[in-house]
């Protein structure tokens, strides 16, 4: 088991910084999901950790070992870092059988033949692929190749496995199943897993901790899933992690109003400290908006869509459209809002953020 520490990593192509002074620690025996939009530098970070790209500054530690340090001129080559990796495109070698694929990392580390055999079969058993040991990858489905890649990563490292968007190519059902299996395997052997994805949903299912990366390659929040969902550190995290509504705020004569396309609605919630000279917005999640006939904020149900576990409403307030979600049980108990009917709505758990520059 090994922790991972990125310290002050910078990486650039020409003048374009992908990562700038990036620091992050992954604790031992945890699954840390690194989540960020496409092109934010997640994969670059992984490549630096694996030794496939060389950062300009900083240092990387795996456990106690310094695998890279710009200052001390250390750059252990990729083949001696002992990190398991599952690539997005699996990178299962097409000319080797499943078993040969899994045995390869151990062969390269000169383990005893009997050990190799035993560990390979064990790893294949862990991913339920024992019966395919002698198949060629071209005879396997995407999900099965995925498992081979995971088995290969399992045997190539005792302490640390990196997964770079490993399930993006699978269908929804298989994706869920793979996530459960990854979680299960991690529980059994206690490996540290650094899981890279742009899909916050799978990250939530899997992680012990989540790290959110911003488009410019900086880390904007590190915390457990509850933290991230309930207490997003900034507007980026709030927006990135789920569907969100934003309503501009107005401050007049010491009063606070919500501005629905020119229609002012008084807002009496206690406000946290904020710079009232700047343009501010209230951010609310669709499932934090509830129907309340007594509320002064009134709108018209523009569209109502049944999604199985919940109803998705588009509510029109003076031309401003809000997304509202109501779980099916509530909707059945309280009655489904009809399209075209007028409703009052109340905001729970509002967040306050500075408005985005248009």
């Amino acid at each position: 088991m090994a922790s991972v520490k990125f310290d002050n990593i910078s990486f650039r192509y020409g003048d374009n910084y992908i990562l700038k002074n990036f620091s992050l620690t992954v604790e031992e025996s945890q699954i840390l999901c690194l989540v960020g939009p496409s092109g934010c530098g997640k994969t670059t970070l992984v490549r630096c950790l694996l030794g496939l790209s060389k950062p300009e500054t900083g240092s990387i530690y795996v456990g106690e070992t310094c695998v890279f340090s710009a200052e001390k001129h250390i750059n252990i080559p990729a083949e001696r870092r002992k990190i398991g990796i599952v690539f997005q495109d699996y990178a299962v070698w097409p000319h080797m059988t499943v078993k040969e694929n899994v045995c390869y990392p151990m062969k390269k580390r000169h383990m005893a033949k009997a050990d190799i055999e035993k560990r390979a079969m064990h790893a294949l058993a862990q991913v339920n692929m024992t019966e395919y040991a002698n198949h060629l990858p071209s005879q396997l489905s995407g999900g099965q190749q995925q498992r081979v890649a995971i088995a290969r990563a399992l045997v190539s490292s005792d302490g640390l496995i990196v997964m770079d968007e490993p399930i993006t190519n699978l269908d929804a059902k298989l994706r869920e199943q793979m996530l459960l299996e990854i979680r299960e395997i991690q529980r059994n052997i206690g490996t540290t897993i650094l899981y890279i994805t742009h899909d916050q949903q799978s990250a939530l299912q899997l992680c012990d901790k989540m790290a959110i990366m911003e488009q410019n390659g900086s880390l904007c929040q590190l915390g457990n899933d509850e933290d991230i969902i309930l207490r997003p550190a900034n507007r980026f995290t709030f927006e990135f992690i789920g569907v969100s509504n934003f309503i501009p705020m107005l401050f007049e004569n010491g009063q606070c109003y919500l501005d629905f396309e020119g229609k002012k609605q008084i807002w009496t919630d206690t406000l946290p400290d904020m710079d009232k000279t700047k343009k501010m917005e209230v951010g609310v999640r669709p499932n934090d908006i509830v129907f309340d006939d007594d509320s002064p904020i009134r709108g018209k149900v523009h569209r109502s869509v049944f999604l199985g576990s919940e109803y998705d409403y588009f509510i029109d307030i003076n031309g401003k459209e809000l997304r509202v979600q109501q779980n099916t049980l509530d909707a059945v108990c309280l009655g489904v809002a009809k399209e075209g009917s007028e409703v009052g709505i109340k905001f729970l758990n509002p967040h306050y953020y500075e408005a985005k520059e248009a």
Binding site: L50, G51, L52, K54, H73, I74, N75, I76, P77, A78, E79, R80, R81, K82, I83, G84, I85, F87, Q88, D89, A91, W93, P94, H95, Y104, P105, K108, R109, S138, R152, S156
Partner: protein
């Protein structure tokens, strides 16, 4: 303790830049090899054409340009190449369409037969046609004269028209093969949509089908143009007797007349410059005239195109295709085999005159036997060396991508558009002692010329295969504990092995029947198979030349069958 200290030291030794880098070594090696193989000969030609005893001078070029027969041969070269390109393109597209998209019968067999001219050496075809339609003594001409009571022979193959006809029959497959495969990869929905939108069959062919295959047509036409401009075999066999020269044959004539003296070679170099200028001009014009993007609409995978019903035209077109095949494939092949059996040249081709003596003579003569083993040696050596060298350069260009990879790419493909005759002169100038190495009259000088000539073949196939090998496959091996060398050996090489093997055969087959360069490079003991046939014919021993020619044909067909068998069941990447 000591072990851990040692380990520490090794980790620290991995500091960048201080340890030996495989990538860097491969890059440098590629540059050096291309410099030696490609740049030096080209430089030597330019230098010798423009510099006289170390001083820049245009005298030599001007002198050559002022000679009327040089200008005539230049004009002949252009005339023949343009005619062959235009006719070959029309013929190639027509038969590609007929076999690719219509319901003509016996398609599979006909396609296989249409590919034969591609592997069959053109100079053997020229020999066959010379035997048939020679103005004075051609078998067919004599028959025509006898049967129709003509006063003179109706055909004369020893003319510009004859040269165009024979080259045409060997070069149209370039367009044919390109276009047939484009037709196969074209999504039939594209045409179906046009039909649904209300276009007639004819309109669909003109407005949809042809524009979509235009890139394939122009690629094939370019191949014909370059090959025909540089072609030596056919014009030398058909043209010499009538004094019809093209630039490549003129260069050969100048050099052989001078007995290989330096002055002759310098004149050859100057003529080479003229030929290169013609080829370059052709390339530029071609690019201007036929500039057309490639379409992604043509997919890599095979589709089942909708076939067009020929209805009443089906049988006449089938007869036409069969006649074409008989004319360009069967007749010359049969002719070579039959003349190989005849007791003496000129005797009628009837069973009483047949003998196997020519074959026994061919195999008994040590010169012939040597030529076969020489050819086998250079072809196999060139194939193997090019296979590795081409893969090395392809790897550097595709995966390492160093600064100057464009230069590498251009240098490795450049010799392909340089006529073989020119290349031979460059190789003579570079490797016959002037630079301290004298390989003249040895087999090695032929090998070096072949390397330069065929490098681009293997480089192209390996490049295409390497593009299919995703970088993550090699990276996965690295993180699994394989060093860079090991990841190359365990992952990349096995994956591109099929492409390397087909690269080998792509070189081996044409090298076996090569004459253009070896005819200028051979020494008394280093005749190649092509040269031996060529000189047997030159010495008037026609039946023996034909016998050896048929041996060559059999060898080529056998090798080709092996290649198809090997490449068919290659493992997909």
């Amino acid at each position: 303790m000591i072990a851990s200290l040692k380990r520490k030291k090794r980790d620290l030794a991995a500091i960048d830049g201080r340890h030996f880098s495989l990538d860097g070594a491969m890059t440098v090696l590629s540059f050096i090899l291309l410099l030696v193989i490609v740049v030096v000969p080209i430089f030597m030609i330019v230098y010798n054409a423009f510099f006289d005893q170390g001083k820049f001078s245009l005298d030599l070029i001007c002198e050559q340009l002022s000679k009327k027969d040089n200008l005539i041969s230049m004009w002949n070269t252009i005339k023949i190449a343009v005619l062959v390109t235009i006719l070959g393109t029309i013929m190639g597209v027509f038969y590609a369409w007929l076999l690719g998209r219509s319901d003509i019968p016996c398609k599979g067999l006909m396609r296989a037969l249409f590919n034969i001219p591609y592997m069959f050496p053109p100079f053997l075809g020229a020999m066959a046609w010379d035997l048939l339609l020679n103005g004075r003594s051609g078998y067919l001409n004599k028959w025509f004269v006898d049967v129709f009571n003509l006063s003179s022979a109706p055909f004369n193959i020893n003319s510009i028209g004859g040269i165009v006809f024979v080259e045409l029959s060997y070069y149209f497959p370039f367009v044919f093969m390109q276009v047939v495969s484009a037709f196969e990869r074209m999504d039939p929905k594209l045409e179906e949509c046009a039909r649904i939108a209300g276009a007639r069959q004819g309109t669909v062919i003109r407005k949809i089908t042809l524009p979509l295959v235009t890139p394939a047509i122009s690629a094939g036409a370019l191949l014909i143009l370059i090959s025909s401009l540089a072609h030596f075999g056919v014009p030398s066999i058909l043209g010499f007797s009538q004094g019809i020269y093209t630039l490549p044959t003129k260069i050969y004539a100048v050099i052989s007349r001078s007995g290989g003296s330096f002055e002759g070679i310098r004149q050859g170099a100057a003529l080479s410059i003229m030929l290169v200028v013609v080829v370059a001009a052709a390339l530029i014009i071609q690019k201007k005239v036929l500039s057309s993007g490639s379409y992604d609409i043509i997919k890599g995978k095979s589709m089942r195109p909708t076939l067009i019903k020929l209805r009443g035209a089906r049988i006449p077109l089938f007869v036409l295709a069969v006649l074409t095949l008989v004319l360009i494939v069967i007749v010359p092949l049969a002719m070579i085999f039959l003349v190989g059996l005849v007791k003496a040249y000129g005797l009628p081709l009837i069973p009483e005159n047949f003998t196997l003596a020519n074959y026994t003579k061919v195999f008994a003569s040590s010169g012939t036997f040597n030529s076969i083993s020489n050819s086998l040696f250079v072809s196999i050596a060139a194939g193997i060396i090019c296979m590795f060298l081409g893969t090395l350069i392809a790897y550097v260009v595709q995966k390492i991508k160093p600064r100057g990879k464009g230069v590498l790419e251009v240098l490795s493909v450049l010799p392909y558009s340089i006529p073989g005759t020119v290349l031979a002169i460059g190789v003579i100038l570079a490797w016959s002692g002037k630079l301290g190495v004298n390989l003249y009259n040895t087999i090695w000088i032929i090998l070096i010329a072949y390397l330069a000539r065929y490098l681009s073949f293997s480089m192209k196939t390996s490049s295409a295969a390497l593009l299919q090998v995703h970088p993550s496959l090699e990276e996965a091996a690295r993180t699994c504990g394989a060093s860079h060398t090991e990841s190359l050996k365990d992952v990349t090489l096995p994956l591109i092995r099929p492409a390397m093997v087909s690269g080998f055969f792509l070189i081996f087959l044409p090298a076996m029947r090569e004459v253009t360069t070896s005819v200028l490079l051979y020494g008394p003991y280093t005749r190649t198979l092509g040269v031996q046939i060529y000189s047997l014919r030159d010495a008037g021993m026609m039946p023996q030349a034909a016998a050896l020619g048929s041996v060559a044909i059999v060898m080529i067909i056998v090798c080709n069958t092996i290649v198809t068998a090997i490449t068919k069941d290659r493992k997909g990447v």
